[in-house]
Point group: C2
Chain length 354, copies 2
């Protein structure tokens, strides 16, 4: 309960590529919205440098020790995209900083909202965030030259807590349907367990209808104009959540428009759902990076620390600005706004909203 805290510390981690650019902009807007509380010392922004690919490579760790220690001193974290090493990259094969942070801070729920008001779409995805194919993603085995294995994990606790969060959210927000998505017809043991446990939790919420889908057909239903409006709250294992939220975000206007909340018992981290776009930086177009995803993440952060009025304001301002931008682009007047100009525009819109 954040209202009982004397001071809330918001850690700000820029990340790689366009990460620092868009994170800085989100922080600027947050500071603007929270100016009084910052002044009064009730909220502190704390810059956490050093979560860069160069540093991670230098110490051969997904998260350098000092960064992790600094993160753990914050209540909530605003994090820019980080570069994940790829096969063939010049650096060693260290784990993704995202994946590591989710594990280290036990951020078991990845909550990703997608809204398309014009089409009556209002989805909230509850992606399990520490298990599935991610738990042991770096522990696969090359048995010999021919044969390689990887592992997928489902635990009872891990499944029950994400299911409960999804159903509680549904109940609190007057949603009457929760959809469970797995591939339990093939990945029988772990996905079977996930499905069964979610159904068990669901049975405790008689006012909510539960249905379940296989991930393959779900990616089709999501773009089926006759069916997609029916979905409300979707709960699913890590990998399927990763896959389908990119598809959903694209429908909303691109992965650049979607923010996400990574929630645990103790910590919470808010980020874009997209990557660090190193190419944009290399080509000198970094200042044109679109901060919308981070600003959406900032909305979720505000709501999470019980600053609901500020969250609502920012959300409304974003809706207006994104709508205006879209209109300009459609009418051929490409906005070409820089990241900073967009941030200014958002703040002046909030100002104008009063």
């Amino acid at each position: 309960d954040y209202s009982k805290l004397e001071k809330i510390i918001i850690g700000v981690c820029g990340g790689d590529g366009i990460g620092p650019v868009i994170t800085h902009e989100a922080e600027r807007v947050l500071r603007y919205l929270l100016a009084d509380e910052v002044k009064a010392g009730r909220i502190e922004f704390r810059e956490i440098d050093g979560l860069t690919i160069e540093n991670r490579v230098a110490c051969n760790k997904a998260i350098p020790d000092d960064v992790l220690a600094a993160l753990k001193e914050c209540h909530v974290i605003l994090k820019g995209p980080t570069t994940t090493p790829r096969a063939g990259d010049p650096w060693p094969n260290i784990e993704s900083a995202n994946v590591a942070m989710r594990k280290e801070l036990d951020l078991f729920a990845n909550v990703r909202p997608v809204k398309i008001p014009d089409e009556g779409i209002d989805w909230t995805f509850f992606r399990e965030n520490t298990e599935g194919s991610y738990t042991l993603g770096s522990c696969g085995v090359h048995v010999d030259d021919e044969l390689a294995f990887d592992f997928t994990v489902t635990t009872t606790e891990g499944t029950e807590r994400i299911a409960r969060l999804a159903y509680d959210y549904a109940k609190r927000n007057g949603k009457n349907r929760v959809s469970i998505v797995t591939k339990a017809n093939v990945v029988k043991t772990t996905d079977g367990k996930f499905l069964k446990l979610c159904q068990k939790i669901g049975a405790e919420y008689p006012e909510i209808t539960t249905d379940d889908w296989y991930i393959d057909i779900m990616t089709a239903k999501l773009i089926d104009p006759k069916r997609r409006r029916d979905f409300q709250v979707i709960v699913l294992p890590n990998l399927y959540g990763d896959i389908i939220t990119d598809e959903a975000a694209e429908m909303q206007g691109g992965v650049g428009t979607a923010g996400s909340a990574n929630l645990g018992k103790r910590y919470a981290m808010f980020e874009a759902i997209h990557g660090s776009a190193p190419r944009m930086m290399q080509e000198g177009r970094g200042c044109y990076a679109d901060p919308c995803s981070m600003l959406r993440a900032a909305v979720m952060l505000l709501s999470h620390i019980d600053r609901q009025a500020e969250a609502d304001k920012l959300e409304r301002a974003l809706d207006i600005c994104m709508y205006e931008e879209k209109k300009l682009v459609i009418t051929g007047r490409d906005t070409g706004a820089t990241c900073e100009q967009f941030g200014d525009y958002v703040m002046s819109t909030i100002e104008a909203m009063g």
Copy 2:
């Protein structure tokens, strides 16, 4: 080489639910197209009964022994959708007949074309068909009440043969790009191996550009109007192929419009990509089942046995009929055609085409 065979045996397996209805229709159209060769004894259609969920339950096998023996006497197989047992179903948890048949007949490649001519989309997915999360899908372990495991497998041979098939297809068909799709940033060992081996095979085809994508962002790119036309040939592990081809088929008009070829060294099986729709049967609407997916599978079958002229004819007729149907539906004149009427319509269209 099918032109050297004295007689080609086409096994026909109806399956469950609407399976027998739509398979029968596809067989009827095939018989019509191949009438002379059937008469001359160069082609034989052989009905293989017994691949029903009731039989499979009775003998507690994914494929009854006599059915498997009969399948192995055919050169190619036309197969209707089969019902896969679900958690909570009244029958024991036997493996999917699809999955079992792919393994038993070593059908290592699942080739799924998706075309949207109006948008310049012409994709061919090469889904690895026997490995990944499917190899040991029934071999997961419940370690205790808390913890469950599943396994994912990649082999060198399994990857190289699907990669080679994809690149050979690209080369033969004048495609200049092959896209490899994995989640190698997380599922590092098996997907990493898959990616590396595909790139190695790709290096043998200097005229073809190789790119690679993670499955999450790929589901977004596929519906991005600015990017989706760029994809041509896509090669990917079993589970990602399963997931993304349903999304792609939905864009084409629904999973009911897509056929698929399951290819091995010795056998080949052609099927719809969708399920058996038991609810349609229960509600007495089975006769209205749409046979398009099976007819698309029939096109692939004809092409596979080197009856390219017949394949082209059927494909053109289907394009015309589906276009006509779509027009009728759009203008509010719902066709309401039965499966049989649609079959008749296709045959009379072929007749009219001369």
